[in-house]
Amino acid sequence: MKETEPSNNEREFLLQALKDGHRIDGRKFYDFRTLRLSFGSEFGAVEVQLGNTRVLAKVSCEVVRPYTDKPTEGFVHFNTEMSPMASSTFEIGKQTNEEILVSRLIEKALRRSRAIDTEGLCIVAGEKVWSVRVDIHFLDHDGNLVDAACIAAITALMHFRRPEIVVDNGEVTLLSIEEANPVPLSIYHIPICVSFAFFNKGQHVIVDPTYLEEQVKEGDMTMTLNIHKEVCALSKAGGISLEMDQILQCTRIAVVKVTELTEQIQAALDADAKKRNISRRK
């Protein structure tokens, strides 16, 4: 279905409000919307709510044969197919540009930055490795799918536990949860995406744009950083062109945001672990 454009009134009001220092939902320019993380009963399932934007990530794994040229490396796959559930502008079997860019950014942020130890997924070199799959389901689109998807993916990977295995003479046996505690993945760092949108010839910069803000924006940029102040990916393509200083200014904002978000993710994971411990003892 075609996208409905906002009215001129909404467009002009949004720009005027920014000039007056306000955002439509009452946030400050550099505020993220409220982030809610809820975990499923199984390991590796997390639903992220960023304001009205909702994303579900589910991690699963299976044992496969490695590539011959990289016999000790496991796999991590991301699936980011968008269904019309999030927005009826998405169609099954028809990739939108948004989908391509989101999917590539997740790849760069999590895989290319080597956030996950793929060597650690090796079971028997050249024979069997783990293939980890992250299915990212977009449920509701109220802007900034990238940041929400990235948070969902990395949180789900951190929450995930794969079954313990026993290797005996090349024979691999999976152990059930009763037999052995499942094993977390080894994760080197936590990349977090921070998206910016630019308005009024670049004078106004906001983070975490809503859908309406995305429709009105003149340009955007997504920075992926981790808590060690490493830029893991950076993407700005087209839209309004920027001064170098503007980009560096965004980096400084992103560093602060990434610290905040990482703490929230950690706190949510800790709280869930505590809950699980209690329920197990029962």
Partner: protein, 262 residues
């Protein structure tokens, strides 16, 4: 019957290679360049007779052809934009362009992404509003891949669009830079790219000095960002000189060939 179940369907834009390191000797890079040195760039325009504009560009060992058709009538009605023209970019890589022969599906996300980046970089620069309800097609073909595909695509597109006489506000000049060992390095080749090097592609509008596109992959500390960004921008300015020369040479050449009017 032998059982060998291997996955051969790996898709990668990085050319396959062994694990040879890029240790620098006497402060020089693997191909003998200094850290702030560009690879040799050679470009010519109007290489294709059928296209409205075209360019061939060699950036080191990366070779690319760009063809522009249009502005012309919109091919599919759904793409009509009433107040400006629609820009369509198609990017492909010849199967022989990498060390290992590889055919890529049309749906390869990395290739679609590059096309999307080129499209988005040029949309604000081309004076699209003077070609309402029309279409400009940009076809890009990599013939040989030695790193820096996106920069080559953007530079070749700039030349081809200018050759086609499409009205533009400015050049769009792109260049890469990265961080190798303990130093920033300009214009990475594929060997340098393939390692875990962080690499940045910058597209600059030389007149305003503003950045139209910025892409970065693999980790780089925030404190080093400015330095790399600065280096890449400088590279863009150097490339601007080269592209400008190509355009001017061609224009002068044409002027010579014109029957003298006075």
């Amino acid at each position: 019957m032998l059982i060998s179940l291997q996955r051969k369907d790996r898709a990668s834009l990085e050319p396959a290679q062994g694990s040879f390191s890029h240790h620098r000797q006497h402060g020089l890079r693997i191909d003998g360049r200094r850290t702030t040195e560009l690879r040799k760039i050679r470009s010519i325009t109007s290489t294709l007779s059928q296209a409205d504009g075209s360019a061939y560009l060699e950036h080191g060992n990366t070779k690319i052809l760009a063809a522009v058709y249009g502005p012309r009538e919109v091919r599919s009605k759904t793409n009509i934009i009433h107040e400006r023209c629609y820009i369509n970019v198609e990017f492909s890589m010849a199967p022989f362009s990498t060390t290992e022969r590889r055919r890529r599906a049309k749906t390869d996300k990395r290739m679609l992404e590059i096309a999307q980046f080129v499209k988005q970089s040029f949309e604000p620069v081309v004076l699209t509003q003077i070609y309402p309800r029309s279409q400009v097609d940009i076809y890009l073909q990599i013939l040989q891949h030695d790193g820096g595909i996106l920069e080559a695509c953007i530079n070749a597109t700039t030349l081809a669009l200018m050759d086609a006489g499409v009205a533009m506000e400015d050049y769009v000049c792109a260049c890469t830079a990265g961080w190798i060992d303990k130093e920033p390095a300009l214009d990475l080749n594929s060997v340098e790219e393939a390692q875990d090097t962080s690499e940045m592609t910058v597209a600059l509008l030389p007149k305003s000095g503003k950045i139209a596109l910025l892409q970065m992959e693999a980790r780089l500390h925030v404190d080093k960002l400015e330095e790399v960004l600065q280096l890449a921008s400088d590279g863009c300015r150097q490339i601007h000189t080269v592209l400008d020369r190509t355009i001017r040479d061609r224009a002068e050449d044409l002027a010579h060939k014109m029957p003298s009017s006075s």
